[in-house]
């Protein structure tokens, strides 16, 4: 059975995260209007990689810049071998990377606690122990990424998926997202209240 209750076909391989009891308890009490996205808090990995908006990747000698249309986010992947410190906690954490063969490996830690930091659709939180490892590589005209998420606070084992990106139309320039706080929160009034 799929997470939405429908029956999977014979080719389906489940990679839904295996949640521990703490995560299941959070899911049980989760109330949709709590989700920070309704107040324009930016999305983070693993969700921001598969949000259906454009991205731009720029390679510098000492860093790789990944700019996301979604929430106007910029992730900097440092290639200088630095080690994250407590000063680096943030919504996007701190990313360090290296090239291995034809692939870019990105490791991100020091994310702040996020009540929907793993998945805002299913109300799966992520903790300050979340570690996201991404492997990017070219496959012809496509860019592919395998994303692996570890979070011992909420996951019994790492969860992983692979996605592909297609080139944007020639000449396309990223558009500002400029999340509007009013527009973001309107729909919460249509959710039947879970708590009084």
């Amino acid at each position: 059975m799929l997470p939405d209750g429908t029956r999977a076909d014979e080719h389906y391989v489940s990679n839904f995260p295996v949640l521990n009891e703490r995560a299941l308890a959070y899911q049980k009490v989760f109330d949709e209007p709590l989700s920070p996205k309704y107040d324009c808090q930016p999305a983070t990995p693993p969700a921001i990689e598969y949000d259906p908006y454009y991205q731009e990747i720029v390679q510098w000698p000492d860093r790789v810049l990944i700019r996301y249309e979604k929430d106007d986010q910029l992730r900097t992947v440092w290639l200088d071998g630095r080690t994250p410190s407590p000063h680096d906690y943030g919504v996007q954490g701190l990313s360090v990377g290296r090239y291995e063969g034809n692939a870019l490996i990105v490791e991100t830690t020091h994310f702040v606690f996020d009540i929907t930091g793993f998945d805002d659709y299913n109300g799966i939180p992520s903790s300050q122990l979340k570690k996201v490892t991404e492997k990017y590589w070219r496959d012809g005209n496509e860019l592919k990424v395998t994303v692996t998420v570890e979070d011992p606070m909420f996951l019994r084992k790492p969860a992983s998926y692979t996605a592909r990106y297609l080139p944007a139309p020639k000449g396309y320039k990223l558009q500002p997202f400029e999340c509007d706080e009013e527009a973001a929160r309107i729909s919460t009034q249509f959710i039947p209240p879970k708590y009084k």
Partner: protein, 136 residues
């Protein structure tokens, strides 16, 4: 582009996203707010629009079955995406009389709508995709 190739200037690659495999559902949790198994229709005058991200909104003044004025709030896609689909501000300008048909909101007594298809009162679709907005 070879991932390892780094020129003297920054290599800029604009990449669009098409997700082939994802372990969890998409970013949007519209099912909490709207019932896609039902359909509601309304006709009214657009009083206001919010053409924004993450979602655009069309506010319509209509009357209910008792003749009382009500306001429908119709959720659409991110404006940045709608523009790419061919939507313009003029298509849903305040003062326009429109029909909207879509999935109703769940909260009792509310007048929200999503997955809406817009048309003129005579049924002529408004906007691209035969008046159906493209959700994101």
């Amino acid at each position: 582009m070879n991932v390892r190739r780094i020129g003297a200037a920054a290599a800029v690659v604009a990449i669009g996203l098409l997700v082939k495999v994802a372990p969890v559902a998409a970013h949007h949790s519209a099912a909490e707010a709207y019932d896609s198994t039902k359909k509601v229709e309304a006709q009214g005058t657009i009083t206001r629009v919010l053409l924004k991200n993450p979602h655009s909104w069309v506010f319509m003044e209509a009357t209910d079955e008792n003749g009382q004025k009500i306001e429908w709030q119709v959720e659409m896609g991110a404006w940045s995406g709608m523009v790419q689909q061919g939507w313009t501000k003029e298509m849903l300008a305040p003062g326009t009389v429109v029909k909207a048909a879509g999935a109703p909101s769940r909260a009792p007594g509310s007048h929200g709508m999503t997955m809406a298809k817009f048309s003129k009162p005579d049924g002529t679709p408004i906007g691209p995709n035969s008046g159906q907005y493209g959700a994101q």
